[in-house]
């Protein structure tokens, strides 16, 4: 299916065009439904939170829209840097991998899944640069050092392996590793989910600053409504694989309409 036909005018880049469009997305595991009938748009620089309890289908959805799993039905379209909107399913494996290591980022809940644990922090950050062809050691190292500073990792840890890092530091390193190629879209799967509460605040603060500075578009999956409120402008609420409510974050959290959203909002303690 030709994405251009679905979205007329997509070939003329315009900030008013979405960077990511999801239409009628469904993922089945045999008889079981992972998620179904999901449609939404994401605009450049926008942070969208997908919230719901575990098992609601939000991680399945994230994996489908980030091309890590093939959907059973529906389309996911992405507006490439050249302004052309492409159906992800129509991309070749090589194109998909290039996208993943240049224009996209993916922050895993567990930093071990997103880092090379037996490679130094500097090389973890530098890997993407080398993957896209940078062949100047000094420049790669300087860029890595700069990014470590931006995620508040001391300069003298550049040659240490992440195995020697605390959970919070690992997560910040994973963020730096993702952002070094200046992606336009970052997917995050419970980025603070595995951290102590005291450490969470620092990582969230850092994320909020970086997202704003870099004008990143973000899709973040979280079960924590406080995280959604802090980072996102819009929110999608999922239950049993379907979207039950969506809208501006403040509106949804302050005035939830669907009974399930009301339940979710009521279940968080007032801060």
């Amino acid at each position: 299916m030709n994405a251009d036909a679905t979205f007329p005018g997509a070939a003329s880049p315009d900030a008013a065009d979405p960077i990511l469009s999801v239409r009628g997305l469904e993922k089945r595991y045999g008889e079981r439904i992972g998620c179904t009938d999901v449609s939404f748009d994401l605009w450049p620089g926008e942070v969208l939170a997908i919230v719901g309890e575990s098992g609601s289908g939000k991680t399945t959805l994230l994996n489908c829209i980030s091309a890590r799993r093939a959907p059973s039905a529906g389309t996911v379209s992405y507006r490439m840097r050249d302004g052309v909107t492409r159906d992800l399913a129509a991309l070749g494996e090589a194109e998909r991998r290039v996208l993943m290591r240049t224009d996209w980022g993916f922050v895993h809940q567990n930093p071990i899944d997103g880092l090379r644990m037996r490679v130094s922090a500097g090389a973890n950050v530098g890997e993407r640069l080398m993957a896209v062809g940078d062949r100047n050691y000094g420049r790669i190292r300087a860029t890595a050092a700069d990014w470590l500073a931006r995620v508040e990792i001391p300069a003298d840890r550049i040659d240490d392996q992440p195995t020697a890092f605390s959970g919070g530091m690992r997560q910040r390193l994973q963020i730096a590793r993702n952002l070094v190629t200046h992606p336009r879209l970052v997917f995050m799967d419970e980025p603070t989910g595995g951290l102590d509460v005291s450490v969470q605040a620092r990582v969230l603060d850092l994320l909020r600053g970086l997202v704003a500075d870099l004008g990143l578009a973000v899709v973040i999956v979280t079960h924590d409504l406080a995280v959604a409120r802090l980072l996102s402008q819009r929110i999608v609420v999922m239950k049993d694989g379907t979207v039950v409510e969506e809208g501006l974050t403040d509106r949804v959290l302050d005035d939830p309409r669907h009974p399930y959203t009301q339940l979710l909002v009521a279940s968080i303690p007032e801060s």
Binding site: E93, A94, R97, R101, R116, V119, S120, G122, A123, G126, E127, R128, M130, A131, V132, R135, N136, Y137, G138, I140, R141, I158, D159
Partner: protein, 290 residues
């Protein structure tokens, strides 16, 4: 020194085909070689046969040599640059016995040079073929053990990880710490393992007029560099590839800018350096003494 083996005919025993392998197997191997030549640096899977010598001892090189050998060929076999090391002697004897071909220790006389770990110092000429014995053909193997994944990485030119290793070397040691089996990029496309050559020999592969064939028997892969192929050693702009250099010349023939073996002469730190390439060393000495 050229010797033709007459012993082959004299020895009774089971009759083997010329150069041991049957013609069907040779054709299969030649097809893999041709494919390798057509796609320089790409590892072509082939149905490696069980050979009468152990895996890891040159079964890949022996199969490639057997497949390209003709009765008029003159074969040189070296191991560590030397013609007289036991494994080289054994492989040379194998082909004398099974093919009855002429063998030589002189690089310039050979039509085919089978080697383990070295490229001769005497530059190879157009029309010559060098056959490398390869233990691990996959340059990505120690970064990613899974064959299914490394094949995908080659297909998609995902070689960033290779430079991560070089980066780590420089960060830790101040140098790229790979001294042999130093990875190369072929014609700007495939990253290739040159077999465990000291990196000293890497530049000899670049735009060589000879045909270069690589055989890995245990891992069942053949790859090739046609004559005049671009072969670049991986490096960084600000840490360019360099070869080893020795401070002293060969203690026997006085050669410089050649690869030397360190020979321990006593247990009190005494040592000397001599040419690793025995033919090169011998030829120089013969020329020096009229």
């Amino acid at each position: 020194m050229r010797t033709t083996a007459m012993t082959a005919a004299a020895t009774p025993g089971p009759a083997y085909n010329f150069a041991y392998l049957d013609e069907g197997t040779k054709r299969m191997i030649r097809r893999a070689i041709l494919k390798g030549i057509a796609v320089p640096g790409y590892q072509v899977p082939f149905a490696s046969r069980e050979m009468p010598m152990p895996y890891g001892w040159g079964t890949g090189g022996v199969q490639v040599t057997a497949a390209i050998l003709g009765p008029a060929d003159v074969l040189k076999v070296i191991d560590q640059g030397a013609d007289d090391t036991t494994n080289a002697v054994s492989i040379r004897a194998f082909f004398r016995k099974t093919a009855g071909i002429a063998t030589t220790t002189r690089t310039v006389e050979a039509t085919i040079v089978q080697t383990r770990h070295r490229i001769p110092e005497t530059p190879l000429a157009a029309g010559q073929i060098i056959v490398y014995q390869v233990p691990i053909p996959e340059p990505l193997r120690f970064l990613e053990p899974r064959e299914t994944e490394t094949r995908t990485m080659h297909a998609l030119e995902e070689y960033g990880l290779m430079h991560v290793k070089l980066y780590e070397d420089i960060a830790r040691h101040g140098h790229i710490a790979t001294t042999y089996a130093y990875p190369v990029k072929v014609e700007g496309r495939y990253v290739m393992d040159p077999s465990p050559l000291p990196k000293f020999d890497n530049p000899k592969m670049h735009r060589s007029p000879a045909l270069q064939l690589f055989g890995a028997g245990r891992e069942k892969r053949i790859y090739a560099l046609p004559p005049y192929t671009d072969v670049r050693s991986l490096d960084f702009e600000d840490h360019p590839f360099t070869v080893q250099s020795f401070t002293e010349p060969c203690a026997v023939c006085g050669a410089r800018n050649v690869y030397l073996d360190e020979v321990v002469t006593d247990d009190r730190g005494g040592r000397m350096f001599v040419c690793s390439d025995t033919d090169h060393c011998g030829t120089r000495r013969a020329e020096a003494t009229p």
